[in-house]
């Protein structure tokens, strides 16, 4: 039983576990039959092996608001968004999987999902681990769409470790912060920046939105996800 409790974070154990990886791997034609804890650990060792150094290099941002490598975007015609998760220094491109019911489902290649409102407010994340289960930011969205400042209530729902919803209510102030010109995917775009500062019982967050000067679309934003995932930076690259 001690064995089960003495695991520190697995990442630090990787070198030790590598030795046992082959022995742990197991094989067969039925996942249920072989499903001992040991096999599951073996799978984790394999996934650690796949994270090579080259990939880690590409994840390192340069400075400021990091963007996707232009080479990845060149020639694409479907709507695309770049996303950067600051705390994990992870960068990804997303495309639209589906839109409907007031929500647009964006996906990365490895099935991380972001649900955004059509204008670009973050509604939910999936696949980050510390996910935003769902968010209600209708009032903030309305203020930004109207180009106004004001106060707004925002509600975030998270799931705890036993899947109970944990609600975080935030009181926010939305402030128009003036016109800014962005360059996204070699296009120069006139935007108006809005800052949203929110306070809750134990949290204080700041979100930023760069809304198109002549329409409701949020071209770029920095939106807080969760304590575990931090803030996500989003850029609309192709519409």
């Amino acid at each position: 039983m001690i064995r089960a409790f003495t695991f520190p974070r697995l990442s630090r154990l990787a070198p030790v576990l590598l030795v046992g990886a082959v022995a742990l791997a197991g094989c067969g034609n039925s996942p249920e039959l072989g499903s001992t804890g040991l096999n599951a650990l073996g799978a984790d060792v394999r996934s650690l092996l796949n994270r090579d150094g080259a990939e880690a290099q590409r994840l390192r941002p340069t400075e400021g608001f990091p963007g996707l490598d232009p080479a990845l975007i060149a020639g694409q015609t479907v709507p695309m968004m770049g996303a950067y998760l600051e705390d994990r220094q992870a960068l990804a491109g997303l495309v639209v999987l589906e839109a409907g019911g007031g929500v647009v489902n964006w996906r990365t290649a490895d099935n991380t999902g972001l649900a955004l409102s059509p204008a670009g407010m973050l509604v939910a994340t999936r696949g980050l681990g510390a996910d935003l289960h769902t968010a209600d930011s209708a009032r903030t969205a309305a203020l930004i769409a109207a180009g106004q400042g004001g106060t707004a209530r925002r509600r975030h729902v998270y799931l705890d470790g036993v899947y109970r919803p944990v609600t975080v209510d935030l009181t926010c102030t939305v402030t128009p912060a003036g016109a800014e010109t962005l360059v996204l995917n070699n296009r120069s775009l006139r935007t108006i920046r809005f800052d949203e500062t929110c306070r809750g019982d134990d949290v204080a967050i700041t979100n930023r939105y760069w809304r198109d000067a002549s329409g409701p679309l949020i071209r770029q934003s920095s939106q807080w996800v969760s304590p575990g995932a931090g803030t996500i930076h989003l850029q609309r690259l192709i519409e």
Binding site: S35, A109, T112
Partner: protein
């Protein structure tokens, strides 16, 4: 999905360490769990009136030359902390096992009587080492109070070992008989001694502690004369100089605390604590790939209903539907076993292959169905299969799913419209025969490693075997299979166990039904199990099982079980009868002359809040008659912590050391350690000792554990994961 392969980059790098979903600290002034060297709420050796966050499971290892102890503590309710400890003590003359290290098990109970109020302190009462042979046996009452947000003081009174500072040791004769009993008469007896302590939070991670201890390690520090020929004087291993203990605690991560101590001015000690709080997931949350979005149907035509005319042309479309659905469900970790499509209802049977919580598998199945079913299908019935046994049928309304995917109360609203019912009666669910699903292999196999452990052997507390195991299954039907498990040990030492002296002399009882189990471990190829396994549904709410063959390492024979378990009931009742022969330790398939009839009637009860109770009454392997009581707390993520005790008509002196069978059961979901979904849930039983009294047969596939995750009450408890 070609457009998705734009970048190999991923947002989901390895998440940072455990983070509370909202960063909200528990109602404690100082960081960390605040556990003592005994792994219980406290300072250094002395207790404090605090508790861990509800549900927390912690393990603390403490070492101080020449002693060491490992403690497992569980916050069973917000106020009740239960602990189990295994200690190694070196002292000169302990129960005449002179000079040798003594290994001892002990249990503690710590109860918070009063929470800290505006002016009042918190108050706790506790029993340390209240069962068993009583090495640490002591009782206390303690009050704690945060003077400032960074400073907490505690003071209390101790009895027993915690009153040895000023008193001469008054009660060395706390041991009687075979041990293992609670002796109420000795609690809070004799003159108590006061103790006190202070904790100061120096930084976010560092806490400094000082305490005035009332435990002077009298047993360990007494000079002894060995009563041998010639007499030998044994010098004590530890000589306390002062009652003052000093220490620090360092919060290395949210789950890990390291601590160092100067004990009684003479010795240094160290401890490490690892904690698992089921409410605070490792890595901030389970990292599970994003699910299929729910596809919303268009508004129905003028009549308000979608046309069902497709159904007339759908004859023979079943295989095509299956072929389209199976890969989509497989991506979500769900195996499709069968689908029955009706104009307004679809009934699916699925096996969860990935998710530690069943409602997530149900939600993901439903999501895929919204993308595939004709518009007129409003009811989606999902029947989770557990081997050949159909679990509770979950009926969801498709329009609820469409409306509430991103609703803050979405899961609750979908639950409000959901129905849980007995799967018997739904198309595709058989009573006595469940045909093997299309596409399932008739022959399944797996080769992998195994680890077997043996705890608390008197000569060596932990023994283990490691080897390779091959599992093969021939499926005649989904509910009838032939199973073989072969094991080949690679290395290990379980077979070097010690055969305890026989204690059973009464001819009513059969000796050696479990003692000597270590003899079944060897370097030979062994048949762990070779069985025919059959399950059936004799009637509504009734489940049946028949298992024949080599059932477990020690016994071969026949086992039959009947369970009554309504889908949405707190109560379930069962009965099991077995007739077995004892297998020969070193024979491949042979048995010896011992024949045993054993069986139980069982009652299972869900008290709510995850608290589960079970009573088994019947005839045990040694022929003794009695009952077992099990209490367990089950969490939605699969963590289960429980304890059991068995009392039978076997007298304590016939039972031997420990007096009666009792133990702790632990099931730890690997998800909570790895941070990604897996159905793997290693479980362990910590028995106080593997004795012959109160011993049960270990039949694979008992019915209640098989279906317990899909009881309606269990589904509701993890329902929040349905939209995860």
């Amino acid at each position: 999905m070609a457009g998705l392969s734009l970048s190999g980059l991923s947002l989901s790098g390895l998440a940072p360490g455990p983070v509370s979903p909202v960063g909200r600290a528990e109602a404690q002034t100082l960081p960390g769990l605040g556990l003592s060297t005994y792994g219980t709420p406290g300072l250094i050796d002395m207790p404090s009136a605090t508790a861990m966050p509800d549900g927390t499971l912690s393990s603390t290892i403490f070492a101080m030359r020449p002693s060491a102890r490992a403690t497992l503590s569980f916050q069973a309710t917000p106020r009740l902390t239960l602990s189990f400890r295994y200690a190694r003590v070196q002292e000169p003359d302990y129960r005449l096992r002179t000079g040798n290290a003594l290994h001892d098990r002990s249990f503690d109970l710590h109860y918070l009587l009063l929470q800290e109020g505006r002016y009042a302190p918190s108050v706790a009462i506790g029993l340390r080492d209240f069962i068993g042979t009583g090495l640490f046996s002591s009782e206390y009452i303690v009050a704690s109070r945060a003077v400032t947000p960074r400073l907490r003081v505690s003071a209390g009174l101790g009895w027993g070992r915690m009153a040895t500072r000023d008193n001469p040791l008054r009660d060395t004769g706390r041991f009687r008989g075979e041990g293992g009993l609670i002796e109420f008469g000795r609690f809070f007896r004799g003159r108590p001694a006061p103790f006190a302590g202070v904790e100061y939070q120096a930084t976010d991670r560092l806490t400094l502690m000082a305490e005035y201890s009332s435990d002077m390690y009298q047993l360990e520090s007494t000079r002894a004369v060995r009563d041998s020929d010639p007499p030998v004087v044994v010098e004590p291993s530890f000589r306390p100089r002062t009652p003052l203990n000093l220490g620090f605690r360092y919060q290395a991560s949210p789950a890990t605390t390291l601590a160092g101590y100067i004990m009684h001015g003479t010795t240094i000690g160290f401890s490490a604590t690892f904690a698992l709080n089921p409410a605070q997931p490792a890595h901030g949350g389970v990292q599970v790939t994003a699910p299929s979005p729910i596809l919303r149907r268009p508004t129905p035509p003028a009549g308000g209903e979608f046309s069902t005319s497709w159904a007339a042309n759908a004859v023979g479309q079943g295989p095509r539907l299956r072929a389209a659905l199976a890969p989509a469900l497989a991506q979500e970790g769900v195996r499709l076993e069968g689908i029955e499509l009706e104009p307004r209802r679809a009934v699916l049977r699925v096996t969860n292959q990935r998710h530690e919580v069943l409602p997530r598998a149900i939600g993901r199945t439903a999501r895929v169905m919204t993308r595939a079913l004709p518009h007129s299908v409003e009811e989606i019935v999902i029947i989770p299969m557990h081997g050949g046994v159909a679990g509770t049928a979950v009926t969801l309304r498709r329009s609820d799913l469409e409306r509430h995917e991103f609703d803050p109360d979405g899961a609750a609203r979908i639950l409000a419209g959901a129905r849980f019912s007995d799967p018997l009666g739904f198309p595709g669910v058989g009573r006595v025969w469940q045909p093997l699903p299309e596409g399932r292999n008739r022959f399944e196999w797996a080769i992998g490693p195994y680890v077997q452990t043996s705890f608390f052997d008197p000569s060596q507390p932990i023994r283990g075997d490691v080897g390779v195991q091959a599992i093969a299954r021939l499926n005649a039907a989904e509910n009838l299979s032939f199973n073989l498990t072969l094991r080949q040990r690679v290395f290990g030492n379980i077979d070097q166990g010690t055969l305890s002296p026989p204690t059973i002399t009464d001819p009513r009882f059969t000796p050696r039904v479990r003692t000597g189990a270590f003899r079944y471990s060897s370097d030979r190829l062994t048949v762990e199990r070779m069985t025919m396994d059959y399950t059936l549904r004799p009637g509504p709410d009734l489940y049946g099982r028949l298992t024949l063959g080599w059932l477990e390492r020690m016994y071969a024979g026949a086992s039959a079980e009947l369970l009554w378990s309504p889908a949405d009931s707190r109560l379930a009742l069962g009965a099991e009868v077995n007739y077995v022969a004892q297998r020969s330790p070193h024979s491949f398939l042979g048995v010896n002359d011992l024949r045993i009839a054993t069986g139980h009637v069982s009652a299972y009860y869900d008290f709510g809040g995850g608290f589960m109770g079970q009573i088994d009454a019947g005839r045990y392997l040694a022929g003794d008659v009695g009952a077992s009581l099990r209490l367990e707390r089950a969490f939605a993520n699969g963590l289960r912590v429980g304890a059991y005790a068995t009392l039978t008509n076997m007298p304590f002196d016939q039972f031997g050391e420990g007096s009666f069978d009792k133990g702790i059961t632990l099931t730890i979901p690997l998800t909570s350690l790895l941070g990604r979904p897996t159905t793997a849930m290693p479980s362990n039983v910590l028995q106080s000792l593997n004795r012959d009294g109160g011993a049960m047969l270990r039949v694979p596939g008992r019915l209640y554990p098989t279906i317990q995750d899909s009881r309606a009450r269990a589904l509701r408890s993890g329902w929040g994961a349905v939209l995860q």
